[in-house]
């Protein structure tokens, strides 16, 4: 007789699907935050599985800073069409009109306006009572204590000292008007789990994750993508470098890394070897130690 035991990926899948269904059953207006990244891609697949043969029964919200990679926009729009997603794109237009960018504002202020503010505004405008996010507990230390159902007060803020205990798979969905729950169905997945799952499930991802010769600006140890008219200094010249992105943020703030990983198995090999946390190249995390925790308190994921 075949042993009835799920592989760890299938066990994680079952847990995530349970979370998706629980939220759709208990909240009146859930939304999924979609960043176009690999974790979002996995979330979409899990949501498809949870509600098959129905379409994904909630809208998908992309907070667009307008500084994303061109390939991300293409990928997003194609996928939305293919899956019949109810895609909502939201920008902090006022800030953009005022010329918000990380060079003048600094990365923290820029993120606060184009991501955090935009997100909170979009959530309020949509009247959503629950928002799925793709954060994982293995990403960063302050996330290790995050709940799967993360309570946010009327201002979208997170209070790490006052979290609801979460036992078994029994989630507390009770909130008052104006309060919301951020839901993290991928809490227990690691970066490697995400890649494995993308591989076994054949999930489409933005090609930027895989290595290719790309025009880049090499400045010291940073390799900078040249989209959105990156301000090049005197004497600097773009060159073709074989790179990939560890995570997809805004082009200005996402460092690329040299890589030969053209396929998923090669990518995972590199991951295991380098053992570098995916956020290493994301400048925001290095501003101050624990900066992610401060952002989270303010409402950023």
């Amino acid at each position: 007789m075949e042993t009835r035991i799920l592989s760890h990926l299938r066990a994680l899948e079952a847990e995530s699907i349970h979370i998706f269904r629980e939220v759709v059953a208990e909240f009146s207006n859930p939304v999924m935050l979609y960043s176009v990244g690999k974790d979002s891609s996995v979330m979409l697949r899990l949501a498809q599985k949870a509600f098959h043969p129905a379409k994904i029964p909630f809208p998908v919200l992309h907070i667009d800073t307008s500084y994303k990679f061109e390939e991300m926009y293409e990928f997003r729009d194609n996928l939305a069409k293919e899956l019949g997603l109810n895609l909502i794109v939201h920008k902090n237009q006022a800030a953009l009109d005022a010329g918000a960018n990380p060079f003048d504002l600094g990365t923290q202020k820029c993120c606060a306006q184009l991501k955090t503010r935009a997100l909170l505004d979009a959530l309020e405008a949509g009247g959503y009572d629950a928002a799925f996010g793709g954060a994982r507990r293995d990403e960063e230390k302050s996330r290790a204590k995050e709940r799967i159902y993360s309570f946010r007060d009327k201002f979208g803020q997170w209070d790490p000292k006052n979290q609801r205990p979460e036992l078994w798979n029994v989630y507390n969905c009770k909130i008052e008007k104006g309060e919301t729950i951020r839901v993290f169905p991928l809490s227990n997945w690691t970066e490697l789990d995400i890649w494995r799952y993308i591989e076994v499930e054949n999930i489409p991802i933005v090609p930027l994750y895989l290595a290719k010769e790309r025009p880049m600006l090499v400045r010291g140890s940073s390799i900078i993508p040249l989209e959105h008219n990156y301000p090049v200094k005197e004497g600097e010249k773009p060159e073709m470098v074989k790179v990939r992105m560890r995570s997809l943020g805004c082009t200005y703030c996402t460092g690329a890394m040299r890589s030969d990983a053209e396929t998923l198995p090669q990518l995972m090999d590199e991951l295991v070897q380098f053992k570098r946390s995916e956020r290493e190249n994301r400048i925001i995390d290095h501003d101050t130690e624990g900066s992610m925790e401060i952002k989270k308190r303010e409402g950023y994921f």
């Binding site: 592989s7 760890h8 990926l9 066990a11 129905a54 293995d138 609801r164 909130i175 690691t190 494995r196």
Partner: protein
């Protein structure tokens, strides 16, 4: 890590400074779960309590507030993987919030690592950890006797702890207890046998974690499928979705739906990846049934030969998790599988001193206290004891005002006689009798409770209400007083004991008769409406009565709007 590796969830228990964080940090490091730049950030950290090169505990102590105080204050989850297994580790801090945190971490764990400082031996706290481990139904216990380097790796120290802890473990019903002489700091017996403990011949801690049997722990016999969400994208597809708590599901299999008690068969198990030929726990699946049955969230598919308990009252162990004390006869919301019902603690039997296990009288439950209690719910739940089934035997209590999760409960096996009689103003069974067909079974089949409705001078209304109830699928009968009026209360009672809703239609008011009917039916299942307050139009009045029957829990409440409904 291979695609076919398995998932093991474990938690750690230990007092402050026993070395929990160090051990987890070490396991993460050894299992290559730590990324290099996180290690770098630990080395840069402004607080560093250790004298050695790397303080592994800083890998696990996360939040800013904690880093400032140098203590862990909340459950943190960590991940590590070896080629055989992926580990989800619940790191639970060891100080005041201890019970709450440990219970939280333990609730999903397959295994608990109980740390004991070799220099200190089995302390009161170690007993506490063993007790909570047993309370939360953790199957495997690995006792890590830590800091062996500080006692010169002496066997006698280890054996003494082994003997003492074992005696205690047995007294609280723990099985599968294994002991490991380790040094979390220096790495002995963590991943491979240590040369410094030649007298120890067992596996290393990590080997043990990689090999504990995960299949044996599962229940494949008693089907329990709590319906989470009804998926109805089109009129001709109706899928019941949920995560299998126990048992196996296969197409063609006979299942009973609760609370209706209807028997039907599984038609198919459709999925994104094609129809499944079998589903087993903990899979999340979609079930299509052969017959059109009315099932909503909160209902359960079970094996008709192995049904769970169906009742509005049960005994449970409770862990109180909130600053506001828990009290008997206060309203709480109780969430059990996919059902949320109003409930009360009908009685606090006693509080349990977690250090001595002594039972103490209590009229309140304070934060981190554990008690044996009795619960009464407004609607019946379908449950097993926690020992039998961790999913159908567990629940949480939510404060309906603050919305906080205030307690976690584990249902205990108990006999009807040992429980307090029901008190709440909802309908109830007329006592669990010795009858061959029990009220619970009648309820399961009928999908509603028996009740008596007393109407005066409203013949047409009686008829209309009967029709409405009948069309809903209820068993109902009108008794009119044109003959034998003095027998109405008794007749109604007979109908009630057969599981029916009796509508008594009286020509003229007779308070004495009404009172007798009420006594016979029982307060909570007797519906008498002041004729002055009932709308004069029959249609309206019948709606009012339907609503009242619903509110009292006689009729199954229609669950929230389902996708596809009403289209």
């Amino acid at each position: 890590m291979s695609v076919e590796s398995q998932l093991l969830r474990f938690t750690t228990a230990g007092s402050v400074d026993d070395g929990k964080s160090t051990l987890i940090g070490r396991l993460l490091y050894e299992a290559k779960g730590v990324y290099e730049d996180q290690l770098a950030s630990v080395q840069n950290s402004s607080v560093n309590r250790s004298t050695g090169p790397i303080d592994f505990s800083l890998l696990t102590d996360g939040l800013r507030a904690e880093r400032e105080q140098g203590i862990t204050i909340d459950v943190a989850y960590r991940y590590a993987a070896t080629p055989r297994r992926k580990f989800i580790i619940a790191d639970t801090p060891g100080h005041e919030q201890y019970t709450r945190n440990m219970a939280t971490g333990a609730s999903t764990a397959d295994l608990a690592i109980v740390l004991i400082d070799a220099r200190k031996g089995v302390l009161v706290q170690s007993r506490r950890h063993a007790f909570i481990t047993s309370l939360l139904g953790i199957r495997y216990v690995a006792v890590a006797v830590n800091k062996m380097d500080l006692v010169d790796f002496r066997e006698d120290v280890f054996r003494k702890i082994e003997t003492e802890f074992m005696a205690y473990a047995q007294s609280v019903g723990l099985k599968n207890v294994a002991f490991f002489p380790i040094s979390a700091l220096e790495g002995d017996n963590i991943t491979e046998p240590s040369a410094r403990t030649p007298w120890y011949t067992g596996p290393s801690l990590l080997e043990h974690l990689e090999n504990v049997d995960l299949v044996e722990a599962r229940n494949f016999t008693d089907l329990r499928f709590p319906v989470q969400y009804v998926n109805r994208p089109t009129l001709d597809f109706r899928g019941y979705t949920g995560q299998l708590a126990s048992g196996i599901l296969r197409p063609g299999q006979t299942v009973m739906t609760l609370p209706s008690g209807r028997i039907t068969k599984v038609k198919s198990l459709p999925s994104f990846d094609g129809d499944l030929s079998e589903a087993f726990p903990p899979m999340s699946v979609t079930v299509c049934l052969e017959d059109e049955v009315d099932i909503s969230r909160g209902d359960m598919l079970v094996d008709p030969d192995r049904v769970p308990h169906v009742s509005r009252r049960f005994a449970a162990k409770l862990v109180w998790m909130h600053e506001t004390p828990g009290e008997a006869e206060r309203d709480y919301l109780l969430k059990h599988t996919s059902q949320t019902v109003r409930a009360q603690i009908s009685k606090i039997r006693h509080r349990i001193d977690i250090n001595t296990l002594a039972e103490q009288p209590a009229n309140k439950l304070e934060l981190n206290e554990i008690a044996s209690i009795q619960v009464e719910t407004r609607r019946p739940l379908f449950f097993d004891s926690y020992g039998q089934n961790r999913t159908t035997g567990s629940f949480i209590l939510i404060d309906p005002v603050s919305n906080a999760t205030v307690a976690a409960g584990m249902i205990e096996e108990s006999t009807a006689e040992s429980l307090e009689p029901l008190k709440l103003g909802s309908l109830e069974f007329s006592g669990e009798t010795e009858a061959t067909v029990t009220p619970a079974e009648r309820y399961k089949r009928a999908g509603h409770y028996p009740a008596t409705v007393w109407l005066t001078a409203r013949q047409d209304l009686a008829g209309m209400l009967e029709r409405k109830l009948f069309d809903l699928g209820c068993y109902v009968h009108v008794l009119a007083d044109d003959r034998e009026s003095h027998l109405l209360p008794e007749l109604a009672r007979v109908l009630n004991s057969a599981g029916l809703i009796a509508i008594c239609s009286i020509a003229s008011p007779d308070p004495a008769e009404a009172q007798r009917a009420q006594e016979l039916a029982g307060d909570t299942r007797f519906l008498l409406v002041d004729p002055q307050k009932l709308p004069v139009h029959d249609e309206e009045a019948s709606e009012v009565l339907m609503k009242m029957l619903e509110d009292r829990g006689v009729l199954r409440r229609k669950e929230r709007f389902e996708v596809g409904e009403g289209i």
